[in-house]
Subunit: 323 residues, 4 copies
């Protein structure tokens, strides 16, 4: 369903090249100060413009339409929207018929029987993450004591990020990356055994973000190669273990240590190199050259999105607990 | 919440050392043949007894209490329960006070203010996965055309599984593993963009299984080190790509190729070596030696559980679509 | 869906003439004392045996299978079941083919394509309300300060209940009734504007009880004939109005006054008089004479069920608020 | 929660005197033709201007922001908004402190700790029903074979509607009414036994509409005064009964006959007569005279809202079934 969250709940709408996109946020407690200015830092972190990011620039101004009165949340649903201004749909003219490899063009066409909006990926576009970042800003205000921080740690398998980006630009190619996210000061006892573990909820939300192919908590995949006496975190006292291989979570529930997880971001699907595809209507093979404006490394713009996802999940849990 | 699924929905109950555990399955279509015998193969795959698995053996007989009439599902909720017979709770006597490293003892105690059932991990026990396997058997019957297969591919970072298991047994230690799951013949168009991608739903359910620390789809974490021209799957025709780096999913929706994912299973937390912990009531440090009967490599018993999770998600999507 | 509630959630299973029926209760806070004995009063209020009620008597012993440890709730799902012992399915032999007027036999057969369990109404039976009463007992313990009370106020349009019951017995007929339910000490501020008003949630649950045909809050249908200056409740002070025509609810939210609602219960559908029906398989007209054991006035056994519904809704709201 | 529906789902936002209000509609199938013009008839039925309705007139133009491409639904979420233009908030200046009897001013203030938007009832305003009517128009398009019709049958207890309205206007008072809604051609088998009966879902949605105090299906409250041999609808054949006392529903499921229900609408709470209230901040008693522009009989504008609720529920059920 197009809603996520049990107590703090978000619902999205919009398309990459439609008139606007936005989010309705339910369950936000009353009395929280919020103004357009509060959105600036996180929205600009998501913005393009830097090396390796797309040349499509939008002003991304957050319009607050409801749920805020005299500068404070009222407890009623909050609607925030963003206009799409800088649209060059002509770039996408032939996508309607020739699905781009790695994109959702083919699956969207199949699922929606050809009625989907194909321009710029339509509702499947990464542009929708703008609304998630906006919701994340409110989520962070609900749990001000929790400090969430995400960073790009690897690009192309290396942590010499600049070099890898340059290489990809020179090759007219794109490149993937890994983002690590941590959350400090999460109260002990957040999360549920079945089926809403912290990992379940975070992964659920994060896998709705385009381009994510993997997630791991604590030692993650490395733990599969470990032995129990290495992996187990010895207890120092309540809320503190000597190591943090579990990533701050036992049995789906926060244990007082830092929550840590990493996500794998695949290389941007849009590349300017010719690729093999086919015509959706005739079935004929066809070579596709994607014009448009694209990110070389979408992972560059991801950290703030991952933070938002983490904040949304933790705010949701937090509102449902008495911690 | 203690329910998972939108159209095919499961709700669990039970504890490791309680009287019984079970599942209510909602949304199962009427007219499906089901008898206790149908549960035998999958339940025995999950069972212990083989080298590297616990010596606690249960007969694991599935009692069907409702929702089945004259050997066929009726459309009403199906309740399946399992008795706990082979219980040695005395083994767990001191867990109530000394949390076992790597287990949920501490988080459960904290969350439930000391009222949780501590025996054998209570409701947090891997024994609850028995109910998930049972639900998976029904799920598989709902999508008989889909072939789901999970296997243990690595233990301790190696694929010489037997050798690694033997080593762990000799060292009185435990060891992790990686399971790969594939699903063939999934119809094109299953899954949703926001927020119920196939990856979102599968990871949500799988991360409620104890001991899972990571999941990746298709190329997964390897994709973060790839370039776009490698990663993108060229289209051969509708439903077939030349490679399958995406793991059968684009934009959260099945594309007709095989669905592939891998999960990381940490080493069993229970080991017989002494470990550092503390007393929940006094706060005093304490060295813990776990007696009990435990799996050396819980990943050995996992493949059928992962299959069940995959089947439950695909059956749920399938019942919600007209495909 | 077969689940009700957002924070305190119940899921049902079972059939009238199956082996057992029961409920899983999620979200019950830990540390609440509960023992089988606590169920006795409410379950006996629902029981048959009195004049005007069916001769099918069951011992209705509540088996608690999970979620309770050392006499207190643990926070994990609570499974309570009841055995069906006193079954005379031969009475229902021909129902499989000839739908009883006023019952769900025809709709269940149509919806479930003939696979439904037809014995005694199967999953549609009023016997399922036993599980709702059991859940209601726990709900009442969650909100001990709230006093809920339901009574049968009218039978056959009159409040001379005994006389009306006697008349119906003499005529081999059945008869309807009205139940009024009140809740005192409900904290101010429970309920939501859209879409989970108190009225929305109470009516949702109550209309899943067989035989309910109407519900009204406060002045209810009478308010449709009133003028505003009569209807409006003048404020005395916070939480107290001079009259209570609103039934304790404004804008879907409790206002501190007594919550009051009434439900209309139709006459029991099963009567021993011959009735016109048809054969589901052949389509032929057929006269049906219902044997079996039935209530003359099902409303007699309803008050405790209505109380349970009210308690479940208020407990659900209560756990979701900080009041 | 601020969402309603399982397959066809609506989420609302907005306030009476905010900048705009609207709805996100999820689950609408792709390929349905929709244009602003299609909203005209139903929106104008809800509009004010006629005798007995408020003088606040809005143009109520439906802006479609997403989910529609080239005149057809895409399968993505549909966002429809309405601007608030004709606002005279000065009329409401003192409401922030003096709750209007019969309104949600006091409960909203209490629940949201004084942070609610008090202007015109804020998010509690009947103006939000505009978004429900808009969603209803799409719902009707999903089930074009179903014919839904609602009418005002009584005002002030009489069916001489004009006379009663005139009387109320002359007395500077307001007056209640009863609306009857019917749905023809509903397929047999729509609805669920526990907990989503047709009655449960319709009443849930309808009781979120301000001013509704009661609902009854078929014979409703009259059935409580009937005997079984009168009440039971004899079967003529599949889908047709000789009478329709059940209102087209047995066991929560449609039986092929016309679905019939009635709702009680209380008199508009806003009247120009002086009423007793108190100051929320000081607690002092105070006499309140409401200025503003108000409906004498809000029931006059209700039929199309009730139709929309009925259509939303039936579309939701319909999308979840294979009928």
């Amino acid at each position: 369903m197009n809603s996520f969250g049990h107590h703090f709940r978000i619902s999205l709408y919009g398309e990459s090249h439609g008139e606007s996109l936005g989010v309705i946020i339910d369950g936000c407690p009353p009395g929280i100060e919020i103004k357009e200015e509060d959105f600036r830092i996180d929205l600009s972190r998501r913005k393009s413009g830097a090396k390796g990011t797309t040349k499509r620039t939008e002003d991304d101004f957050p319009y607050i339409h409801s749920g805020v009165y005299q500068g404070k949340t009222t407890g009623a649903p909050i609607h925030i929207s963003f206009q799409n201004n800088n649209i060059q749909s002509s770039d996408y003219k032939n996508i309607a018929q020739i699905p781009r490899p790695g994109h959702a063009d083919f699956t969207a066409y199949s699922k929606y029987k050809g009625f989907n909006d194909p321009r710029g990926g339509g509702h499947f576009s990464g542009r929708l993450t703008l609304a998630i970042v906006a919701a994340g800003i409110l989520a962070k205000k609900i749990i001000p004591h929790v400090k969430i921080n995400a960073n790009l740690t690897h690009v192309g398998g290396s942590n010499q990020i600049d070099i890898e980006i340059d290489k990809a630009i020179q090759n007219n190619d794109s490149i993937g990356g890994v983002i690590e996210c941590t959350a400090n000061n999460v109260p002990i006892g957040i999360g549920e055994p079945f089926f809403d573990s912290i990992e379940s909820k975070i992964s659920h939300l994060i896998f709705s973000i385009p381009a994510i192919k993997g997630i791991e908590f604590g030692k993650g995949f490395a733990s599969a190669a470990m032995i129990g006496s290495e992996m187990n975190d010895a207890y120092i006292k309540a809320g503190i273990t000597s190591t943090n291989h579990a990533g701050g979570i036992n049995g789906g529930i926060s244990n007082g240590n830092q929550i840590v997880f990493r996500v794998a971001v695949k290389p941007t699907s849009s590349i300017s190199k010719p690729q093999q595809s086919f015509n959706l209507k005739t079935g004929e093979k066809q070579i596709l050259e994607i014009k448009g404006r694209h990110d070389v490394c979408i992972a560059l713009r991801m950290p703030v999105i991952i933070e938002a996802c983490c904040a949304i999940v933790l705010a949701d849990f937090s509102l449902g607990s008495d911690l």
